[in-house]
Amino acid sequence: MPAFKPAITNILLVNINVDRLNEQLELHGYKPVLTPDIECIGEVDVPYSLMIINEDLIRENGAFNIEHLYFLNNNVPTAVFISDPKSVPETLLKFLSESTLEWVYSHEIESGLICSRLDKILIESCLNNNFQLLQQNHWEKEKLKKEILLRNQVLDHERELNANIAASIASGLIIIDLKGTVIMLNENARTLFKLASTDYIGSAYGNIFPVKIRTAIEDFLKKMLSGFAHHEMKKISIEDSVIEIAFYQMKDYGHTINGVLMLVNNITSQENTAQQLYRAEKLATMGTMLSGIAHELRNPLSVISARAQMALAKDAWDKAWAIKNFESIEAQTCRCATIINNLLDFARYRATQMAVHQVQKILDETLTYVEYQNSFDSIAIEKNYQEGLVIFGDHSRFVQVFLNIITNASDAMDGKGTLGIRTWSDDPAWVTVEIRDSGSGIDNKVKDKIFDPFFTTKEPGKGTGLGLAIVYKIIHESGGEVWFTSEPGNTSFFVKLPTGMKHHE
């Protein structure tokens, strides 16, 4: 009979660690796998064709458990290792002879018989139960089962993590694939859009969201697919709420765009706070403007009054004189009206009105509000306007921007120096305004803070600390940019604003 060797040559030794046995097994092409106890058998993750357990374990655990183990262990042939047959109790020997278990003796190791005995056990088991095939299938199945279990665990874990992330983020989270199917929509997003708590996952976005949102998604999808945008922020007002949506393109591992991720926030209260801050700053600006306007009115009013008194005092009017007199009154009255209208324009609370304005006119108007101030007495104003430039946006906000920057400039000069105002454009889409002062300059330490709200270098009571923060906000909302360069004696603020004309490429 040719020596039989099973495909699986591992032999599990439970609670047996005898060097001589290990040597013999290896000599015969078997591989001993050691495990300390019956409880640890489940953890053995290699297949084995035979299990040998120490007789002590049978004594400790009782015969029944061993038999049970045999079945549990999926009919792997099992032998009991007996060190001295004379010491084995009668009852155990009786049990062994009646059970399916085999036994091996320690002296078989010494005599070199052990392996031929094991071969015999295996061949018999094989003939009896065709166990080896079973064993192999079993182990493959086990392996697969374990793998699937592990994958499921990982998947469960990831799913749970995703669900946790989606639920935990304070924003609404929406993910839409390129076909427009919603593949993620968290609770916050449902609440934000007041959607009934049905599962929307799998629906087309067009059927779920309000028109304004649908349009915004559509826009972004178009831009993203044509490569114009990777992300975008949008503010959309729906009823009384202002909703901010951040759009991001989603890519798979191969960097192919496969969807849009949207983070949605209700920013109504922030918007209100921002509006309040804006209005507070506007009031402060209005204070400056008001005294400027009051001063501006006195000049024409005194002329009108003087002219009228002169006319009243005269017995007879020479025609040419009368015409000159009343033309002057008419002109000065119109001047008063313009001044008042400017203030009203500024003071009236209204939604921003976007329109095209002559930048030169806005700058000159702004200057009239501050020029009267004592602090401007020794400040030379140098204007350098490029003719005919326009900017697109809200008139009163522009006035506020320039008023803030000019006021800061004059404060920095402490009443003495040169204020330079320059405008230019080298791109039909943009106009740049430079406001330069010869003042003390901006300290390096504060350069990165000057656009922060409530940051001020002025004495208490002199600045709200909101001026430049508002400037920054307004300019960004107008689609423009603001930056500055500063060294002692030469500080320039640059405001780049859109003209409203499309850039021709």
Partner: protein, 302 residues
């Protein structure tokens, strides 16, 4: 020959009407639209008075006057503005300028006429110049007459607005005239002033009052001429300049506050001084709503 006045203002319409008015008053006028033009005109022609706007493009009024004073020391000068004179007190003190006329609404031609006349003629003393109507006078010979005089003047005023303001102002100005002006007590040691003092004939204080269609007026005049223009400007400046705490720097001064408060509470506060000879303080109150606007600075020292 008519007195010549040079008017400087970037408000052309204003130049035109003021020039017309002053011509009607019998002056000869030239106009300039900025300081540079004015200096050019002055090179060609001489003038008795320069009347300049403060806030003009280029050189401002204060600088122009400073320059003109250096070049033509005999020429008289005054400033004119539509803005708040309080904001210019500091400059007035630094440039030693006593007269800043204000562009009021209604325009106060009468005041401009008077100021120009006063500056040119130096005939400044006496309430008759300031009030067109009968003027009553009393002399104060001792400190115990002060209360009586004040009561008499207040009684003569029909309007409660004037009564209230004038009582406070009179109290301040007459007491100062008697103790500081006539007796030359130290202004910063009021607590040491004796309660009863008698004034010799050369120390007597003359108080006049009168009423016309537009206003009521009181003049308080001593015979010492102790008050200097620069002191008045100094005290006004102390009380109009704000310190870092936002309060006026002169808030805790022992002296000079009364002057400032009086200037603030009375429509027109006029100081006429002939050094070593007499000091007159004229206080005018207009009918309510008349000549609203800012108060001129009106200090003339001969």
């Amino acid at each position: 020959m008519n007195e010549k006045i040079l008017l400087v203002d970037d408000e052309v319409d204003f130049l035109d009407v003021l020039s017309e008015f002053l011509k009607d008053e019998g002056y000869e006028t030239s106009t300039a639209r900025n300081a540079q033009e004015a200096l050019g005109t002055l090179q060609k022609d001489s003038f008795r008075l320069l009347l300049s706007d403060i806030n003009m493009p280029g050189m401002k009024g204060f600088e122009l006057i400073k320059k003109v004073k250096q070049l033509y020391p005999m020429m008289k000068s005054a400033l004119i503005t539509a803005y708040d004179v309080r904001d210019y007190i500091n400059m007035a003190k630094n440039y030693d300028i006593g007269n800043i006329i204000t562009k009021t609404t209604p325009f106060n031609f009468e005041e401009v006429r008077l100021l120009v006349r006063n500056i040119i003629t130096e005939d400044i003393f006496g309430l008759e110049h300031y009030v067109k109507g009968p003027v009553n006078s009393m002399t104060i010979k001792s400190s115990n007459e002060i209360e009586q005089v004040i009561q008499k003047i207040v009684n003569a005023m029909s309007n409660a607005r004037h009564k209230r303001k004038f009582r406070q102002a009179l109290n301040e100005i007459i007491i100062n005239a008697v103790y500081y002006g006539a007796k030359q007590e130290r202004g910063d040691r009021k607590e040491l002033w004796p309660i009863d003092v008698n004034l010799s004939p050369s120390e007597e204080v003359l108080v006049s009052w009168g009423i016309d269609d537009e206003k009521v007026g009181v003049s308080v005049m001593d015979q010492k001429g102790l008050l200097a223009k620069k002191d008045v400007l100094y005290w006004l400046e102390r009380n109009t300049t704000k310190g870092e705490d936002g309060l006026s720097v002169g808030l805790l001064d022992d002296h000079g506050k009364g002057l400032f408060i009086t200037r603030e509470s009375i429509d027109r506060f006029i100081v006429n001084v002939k050094r070593g000879s007499k000091t007159e303080i004229v206080m005018l109150n207009y009918k309510e709503g008349l000549y609203d606007g800012y108060r001129p600075l009106w200090i003339q020292e001969l």
